[in-house]
Symmetry: C2
Subunit: 174 residues, 2 copies
């Protein structure tokens, strides 16, 4: 479970409130780790109880807004976890199940499904490529930026491969 560590990373990059973090999980961070606001608030409470982050009420804001910043213990925990052994990603790919099902019960309306998925991946690919153009030309020279660029490039490759796969599957089914 990486949500606590994704939050620690996000808060080191820039301190903020739960709602702001939720926004970032809908954009940059969410491209490789998704989380809803319910998860985020619950986890922030745990992180504060553990003494890894510190919250402070924000005056003059709507609701009972609180901003959080990472404490030294939280930074140490993040460093510890980063070096911790990583199991390979467990894979659960519904579309592969559907294709194999199609092979035994087909033909079905699966191609429509694939067309919609293709659009989704093409759009996201475009988003990533725009981000790359905006943030990483020319290619960065400092380590932290190079790492972020690498993560983005992995996303680009992923979407490209995924879109191509959907198109091949459609061609085969039609």
């Amino acid at each position: 479970m990486s949500l606590p560590h994704a939050l620690l990373t996000a808060l080191i990059e820039r301190p903020g409130a739960g709602s702001e973090l939720a926004g970032r999980f809908d954009r940059s961070i969410g491209y490789f780790w998704q989380a809803t606001h319910q998860q985020i608030y619950r986890e922030l409470a745990r992180l504060e109880a553990a003494g890894w982050i510190e919250g402070r009420a924000v005056d003059g804001a709507r609701g009972r807004k609180r901003t959080y910043r990472v404490l030294p213990a939280g930074r140490a925990e993040l460093a510890r976890w980063t070096a911790e052994s990583q199991e390979p990603l467990p894979i659960r790919d519904e579309m592969m199940v559907r294709l194999r099902a199609e092979a035994v019960v087909g033909p079905t309306a699966l191609p429509d499904n694939l067309a919609a998925l293709t659009r989704h991946h093409r759009e996201r690919l475009k988003t990533y490529e725009d981000i790359e153009k905006r943030d990483f030309t020319p290619p960065p020279t400092d380590r932290a930026q190079q790492l972020r660029h690498l993560v983005l490039k992995a996303g680009i490759e992923y979407e490209r491969q995924r879109a191509a796969f959907c198109e091949q599957a459609m061609a085969l089914l039609s």
Copy 2:
């Protein structure tokens, strides 16, 4: 949730008992959908209660072995689900979180981690390539086999991309 439909597909491909299915989920099916034997047995009980599969006790086997076969209602359900709209895969990639964490708290021992992951993906890539050589040369001409080949090729591309990514990340960190 695709486990019930992965099980229906597997049982149409070849009827069998829970333990046999567990074996297949450690090999072919498990390459795109993982499941433990506990999940499988629980789900088989549900599928039978729903009238989608039918179990029969096996005499002269260890334990209380039961083989299952798919009923017409199960086949209909699988066809229905296959055409159902598919949301894009939710992504949760721990390694990306680790890399972004490294960018703010590094350097750490993350490269060792990446080395082990690289080995894992190279090994799995080799396994897939062997399967392709064994089962899909020459390339099949019937639809069902072509679909299975496509799913395998997606796995090959995935492992290749993943291994390359780990190597790039190691190069950047060292």
